[in-house]
């Protein structure tokens, strides 16, 4: 329906995120330089740690690890973007991920004796369903009671943290010394794509499929159009006979399902049980990924890989270049400020451009 692709249009949609990332890298570099680190050394280490370092017998290949880290970012950011499209701000992805992880873990270790073909999809679905319900609560409260989802999803985050904490330390605690659930049955484990020590698993494939489904939903289906119309002009959509409340609930269910699925993938593929200290922070970083991705699945995929690379490369950067890996959170913080207000980047560039010719002129004058 939205016809006509051109290089200009793609560039128009791309320059802002690219410039934002560039500018954030520059600011973090300045910060590092001030605190006495050579930013070039640090960034080289970051890049190597994220993409280049080869695998060995005991160590996974850097690039594959980046994809492993990118997987939850991508699935979560798709979920968050979906809510953005309807004009909703699901910033409770973290809590939905927790609930997804919790319930899929339960399905993974409490049900026994099923073949993998049934048990694994069941466990994944259980996680998606839990996330859907958790976000659906906020969607329903918005639709039926007008409660702002920005606040309710955050509140539901804190409740989810407590629920998981309680369950893992109480009713679901396994017979281990450290508080955690029992191991998930082998039949519910999401298998690796490559032999160990590689950890790359089928989650990446699930993420890509989710991306494709997202595209089809938004571009080809009445439901997707409905979501976008509600997001664009709620009153006009309602006046045209679109059921706005139902759209809100459906959107939040789908958004939460993706976030819950991300949690399920994490525990079923990587942890294989639910630890007491299950803190990821993915849910918040993914808001940045979603904004950076600009609401389209390819953009989201690229942004997810970028964040995965930062996440994965940071550890290597810390031990090889001695830079605190928390610099990454500063980097991410600036990226999303710039993405949220591309005008800042544009004005900065305009300002620099205005300065440049003058300094060039001055150089000339000095030379002559």
């Amino acid at each position: 329906m939205m016809k006509g692709f051109s290089i200009n249009k793609i560039w128009g949609r791309t320059w802002a995120p690219v410039a934002s990332v560039g500018l954030a890298l520059l600011i973090a570099a300045v910060l590092m330089a001030i605190t006495g680190t050579d930013p070039l050394v640090a960034y080289r280490a970051l890049f190597e740690g994220a993409f280049l370092r080869p695998g060995t017998d005991t160590r996974a290949t850097a690039f594959f690890e980046t994809l492993v880290a990118a997987t939850p970012f991508m699935v979560l950011a798709l979920g968050i973007s979906l809510s953005f499209a309807a004009g909703l701000f699901n910033i409770g992805a973290e809590g939905q991920l927790y609930m997804g992880a919790l319930v899929s873990t339960m399905a993974g270790f409490m049900i026994k004796g099923l073949p993998m073909a049934i048990h694994l999809p069941l466990a994944l679905l259980a996680g998606a369903l839990a996330g859907a319900i958790w976000a659906g609560i906020a969607g329903w409260l918005k639709a039926a009671r007008g409660a702002p989802e920005v606040v309710t999803t955050i509140m539901l985050n804190y409740i989810a943290f407590s629920v998981v904490n309680y369950m893992v330390n109480g009713p679901l605690r396994g017979k281990t010394t450290a508080p955690r659930t029992p191991d998930i049955e082998a039949s519910a484990i999401l298998p690796n794509l490559l032999p160990p020590p590689e950890r790359l698993h089928w989650g990446i494939a699930i993420a890509i499929v989710c991306g494709m489904l997202y595209w089809v939903l938004m571009k080809k289906t009445p439901l997707g159009l409905r979501i976008q119309l509600v997001g664009s002009n709620l009153k006009a959509a309602f006046n045209a006979g679109i059921n706005v409340n139902q759209t809100y609930v459906i959107t939040m269910l789908l958004s939460g399902a993706l976030c819950g699925l991300a949690g399920a993938i994490e525990v079923l593929a990587l942890y294989k049980f639910l630890p007491s200290e299950f803190t990821t922070g993915y849910g918040f970083d993914s808001i940045a990924v979603a904004l950076l991705g600009g609401g389209n699945p390819i953009g989201i995929g690229l942004a997810a890989i970028l964040f995965g690379a930062l996440f994965n490369g940071a550890t290597y950067m810390q031990f090889s270049a001695g830079v605190s890996n928390y610099i990454i959170s500063v980097l991410q913080a600036f990226i999303i400020i710039f993405v949220a207000a591309p005008g800042i980047v544009r004005d900065l560039f305009a300002w620099v451009r205005k300065l440049l010719p003058r300094s060039a002129k001055q150089t000339k004058e000095l030379a002559s």
């Binding site: 605190t35 701000f89 910033i91 409260l141 039926a144 009671r145 007008g146 409660a147 702002p148 920005v150 606040v151 309710t152 955050i154 509140m155 539901l156 985050n157 804190y158 409740i159 407590s162 629920v163 904490n165 309680y166 330390n169 109480g170 918040f284 970083d285 808001i287 940045a288 904004l291 605190s324 928390y326 610099i327 959170s329 500063v330 991410q332 913080a333 600036f334 999303i336 400020i337 993405v339 949220a340 207000a341 591309p342 005008g343 800042i344």
Partner: protein
Amino acid sequence: MEQLLEALRNINYIFLLAVALRAATPIVFAALGGIFSERAGVVNIALEGMMLTSAYVSFRVAVMAGSPWVGLVGGIIAAVLVAALHAVVSIRYRTNQVVSGTVINIFAAGVTGYLYRAFPTTASADYLPDLFPASMKNLPVVGSLIFDQGILTYAMLIGVFLTGLVLFRTRWGLRTRAVGELPRAADTAGINVNRTRFINVLISGALAGLGGAFFTLQTVSTFSPNMTSGQGYIGLAAMIFGNWNPVPALFASLLFTIPQALAGQFQLFNVPLPYQLLSTLPYLLTIITLAGFMRRSTPPAADGIPYP
């Protein structure tokens, strides 16, 4: 069950109220900040991030300067700077105010988390001094409620009064309300809409700064990441429940903290309740309140809409 009844009989309810008032301090500051900002037409989700920033900076500065007062000033300045960021992004660059606020909260969590871990310290900050002598705190019945509060709690109560006064009895307040209801009317009356909004967002930052300092200069004397734990959002709920008015917002805040204080008392009396689930009480109450009262509230008409 017996233990529960036993506890209910023995709880000192005045003391309970004192605890609840103390716990309400940052929530009320956030609510007051929200009132200034939203009465002027700028939705302020970023209060959480402003409080977190102030909690960190006031702790750091208090330790470095050896004075909690200097720390308090530092915290307020830092929160105002974060507020300025929200104002620039949402007013100057017209970014959706909810997006701006959310982004700033992530920004604040990222930056404070980085600084906390990159420059570790074992030092603790001195508390802000008490206002009343110990003898008055031990006065029977109301000693704990009236005289045994931290200085920021008294500041909060004064803040509630001043907010009402400024909003409804001063030129600034009149202009603020006009700008938040019908900015075009204010504009045609010669008022600079966006400047008025900008300054109100800065005021909300200063109030959030006081609220943030509560965590490190009146409660625990050290910083931990994300220690504001959603209280900025709860403050927004209190603001909504109070229909953007300061005194009702204070009572709404108490509504959120009294049950939690009660739960604390139960634990003291060994009532067997899962503490992890009790800690969700303020969050649950916030959700219930929003679900019950959002439709009955009337936000400022231009709240959240950039001008022009």
